[in-house]
Amino acid sequence: MATKFRDNVKASEITDYKVYLNRRNFMRGAALLASGAATTFLYRKLNPPPAEPPKGQKIETVTTQPADNLAKSGFTVNEKLTPFEDISNYNNFYEFSTDKREVAGEAKGFVTRPWAVEVGGLVNKPKVFDLDELLKFAQEERVYRLRCVEGWSMVIPWIGFPLSKLLEKVEPTSQARYVSFQTLLDPNRMPNQRTGVLDWPYVEGLRLDEAMHPLAILATGLYGQVLPPQDGAPIRLVVPWKYGFKSIKSVVKINLVADQPPTTWSAEGPSEYGFYSNVNPHVNHPRWSQATEHRIGEFTGRPTLMFNGYADQVARLYDGMDLRVNF
């Protein structure tokens, strides 16, 4: 198609060359800015910055033993604490988000009152514990290592009480051999439960002797404050010698049972996650090295310790067991 040119253009109608160039530069600048802003927006949308941690209420604690006993029993490790900002902004809590940095934002405003934990099953005295009753158990500080199956670790000053103290109250019967735990199921409060990323509700389990071990606690706080929602408020399990996912968050139900209960991650990938899931540098995982770990806040790797460094306290629980089979 031929273009028709007008040959009757007056000189005064022709845009000045300088103006023409300026306009062109202006358009270029505008295009650059607009596209740059769009790219920035897109990147920020896909890679959001972490949210500010909320400040919680203080919790009163008691000290049960002298300092050197605390170290010997594994109640306190003498390692640098992971900063509160990191503990409260880097969370695996799929009920809110599968992105560890987004959990804090998604969990903001999570309502934890009223809250009750129903303890039952093979027990003589089943009971529903209100949160305030649970907070009446003597709260202790426990400084534990936390080793995630993904290859990172933290040192966290928890506040809580031994799980055994709760179990003693309900008196497990002689048939009870395992303890099963369940997280709250409420898609209105835990929005990611609307997706099918895991089989909800999240469930976990321990053998009864593991659950009765003094290192196994129910945590209600960290850094002297009430647990932030993203860390499993208002009450969660902490079993420091097992991979982090065993330490189930926002617990509403505890059941004593005779047979090994199903657990969420081993149902998801039986070849990758076992029922025991003890921290074990000798059992390899196809996704993450279990021989070494990254301590959050450090830039060199460190070797992962058997039972996460709690071998002296817990190895006897597994005497005679092949931990490569029962991983």
């Binding site: 295009a31 990147y43 920020r44 890679n47 992971t82 503990i87 799929y94 390899n284 060199t300 790797g301």
Partner: protein, 207 residues
């Protein structure tokens, strides 16, 4: 789009923005508790994004008839290589601490790393032969055949990501779906007889 030179500058700068923001966030300590994981994930995702963008050029060109789009293909591909290189270096430096001896064992135990590395090394010959000189030296046909390696790199990259994630496979599956569409389009075009291909444009030639 006659102003190709400017358009190239525009795209060049936009492709660098993610890196600039990543560096800025790292400098301002806005990359969360595990900067290593964050940087690794971000550079990895960017690699796949740019791979997919470079693979989008040809179908988009065919469909819209905007042939000038091909002028940006090389740059997008080289950015995929660039971000892939940063991704690999993050792993070598921060994950392995330049302990090169520990890499073979790590790769052998974790198939997803092996696939990722293989995909990166497949990009090397493609990146090296991306210059106009190389097209001439190899000849268009051979050059084209060599650059079909990109399809394999795309599959490898998505597979690498998919194997890594624990259970939330939404993002890798999205990438996989996009890749499937892009490669599927090529397959369909290949097996569509040329006569039929010309049927569609005739819609416009009927006056």
């Amino acid at each position: 789009m006659k102003d190709t030179r400017f358009a190239k500058v525009l795209i060049f700068i936009n492709c660098l923005i993610p890196l600039a923001l990543l560096l800025w966030d790292t400098y301002r300590k806005q990359v969360g508790a595990n900067p290593l994981e964050f940087v690794t994930r971000t550079t990895g995702m960017l690699t796949i994004v740019f791979l997919l963008l470079s693979l989008t050029v040809t179908p988009l060109r065919r469909i819209t008839g905007a042939n000038w789009l091909v002028k940006f293909r090389r740059m997008l591909g080289l950015y995929a290589f660039f971000y892939g290189f940063l991704h690999l270096m993050t792993y070598v430096s921060f994950d392995r601490f330049f302990n090169l001896k520990s890499i073979p064992g790590d790769v052998a135990q974790r198939p997803f790393i092996a696939i990722g590395m293989l995909s990166f090394f497949l990009m090397v010959p493609v990146a090296i032969t991306s210059t106009n000189k190389m097209v001439k030296r190899l000849g268009g046909k051979r050059w084209n055949r060599l650059h079909k390696l990109t399809y394999l790199v795309g599959v490898g990259g998505v597979l690498h990501y998919w194997m890594l994630v624990k259970s939330d496979t939404r993002i890798p599956l999205t990438f996989g779906f996009v890749l499937l569409v892009l490669l599927g389009y090529r397959l369909v075009m290949k097996y569509t007889p040329p006569s039929e291909k010309r049927v569609t444009p005739s819609l416009f030639s009927q006056r």
